[in-house]
């Protein structure tokens, strides 16, 4: 497996949708290729960090305005 081939299936590796036979090839490549290993680990970490940290918190007052507006309108429509 080459680096380009590895990169082409990087998303599948991350999403863990890889066939068993390809998995061995990947492991062999990662053992001898530090670059791809770093790319894999840091891409995983990138996803994890964005998952665990909310960067656009919904302010309480925005939420309250939403509910007031929705309830007002729903009562009119139905």
């Amino acid at each position: 497996m080459t680096c380009t081939e590895f990169l082409a299936i990087l998303d599948d590796v991350i999403d863990e949708s890889i066939a068993a036979e390809t998995r061995t090839e990947i492991e062999t490549h990662l053992k001898k290729c530090g670059h791809c290993e770093v790319v894999l680990n840091t891409t995983r970490k990138t996803i994890e960090i964005f998952r665990c940290h909310e960067i656009y918190e919904l302010p309480t007052e925005v939420s309250e305005r939403l509910h007031t507006k929705i309830m007002d309108r729903c009562k009119k429509v139905r």
Partner: protein, 214 residues
């Protein structure tokens, strides 16, 4: 977890289905439950596309009102959330178009460049690098990083990796093909990684006494 979900999906209804039925029968409180369940995600998507808090608030209100009015058109064959996201994405793009005084805005724009499809930075990161920053510093770094991406990439990344929709659901919510979602996701992930590397790479610290000895 995904296995459990898909097994559950085959045998029982998604809990939203029952809520939608109740709303259709005139139960307004059931709609409020749906709104509370998804308001954070919808606000987030709207903000990622519009990059403007007032617009995101308007988009969120309009999307939930529109979904309520069009609820009869909602087919049970897609998830309520996917359907809702599609409405919110369209509202967001319309809002963007208004801001840019009628200039055509689509989810496909700004994607001509192949930039960022190949990694260039191979520096390893520090262990748990996010812990070197406090909450507000980290949020600022993450915002700056993701704002640098075209909105068509941002939305795919947020739906797939943060909201954990499947590739198929993301494609449906955005009106894109599955291959388009896949290629955007890869490039979004790689570009974010590349940009974050500047903050998170392992600093070359002076060798410790123990390392000097060995």
């Amino acid at each position: 977890m995904s296995t459990i979900q898909s097994i559950a999906g085959q045998n029982e209804q998604h809990p939203d289905v029952a809520l939608v039925e109740r709303v259709r029968a005139g139960d307004i409180a059931a709609y409020d439950t749906l709104v509370r369940k998804y308001e954070r995600q919808i606000f987030r998507i709207a903000l990622h596309i519009t990059q403007n808090r007032e617009d995101a608030e308007d988009v969120m209100q309009d999307a939930f009102l529109k979904a309520y009015e069009k609820l009869d058109q909602f087919q049970g064959n897609s998830k309520f959330y996917t359907w809702l996201v599609r409405i919110a994405v369209n509202e967001s793009l319309m809002r963007l178009r208004k801001r840019r005084t009628g200039k055509l805005v689509s989810i496909d724009e700004d994607l001509k460049t192949e930039e960022g499809s190949v990694p260039r930075d191979f520096a390893d990161w520090a262990p748990n690098p996010e812990q070197n920053y406090n909450q507000s510093e980290l949020a600022e770094i993450l915002r700056k990083t993701i704002q640098g991406l075209p909105h068509g990439f941002r939305v795919v990344f947020v739906l797939r990796d943060v909201d954990r929709l499947s590739t198929e659901e993301t494609a449906e919510a955005l009106g894109l093909s599955v291959p388009a979602v896949k290629s955007r996701l890869l490039r979004a992930r790689l570009q974010l990684r590349e940009r974050l590397s500047r903050y998170f790479r392992r600093k070359s610290a002076p060798p410790t006494a123990q390392e000097k000895r060995s």
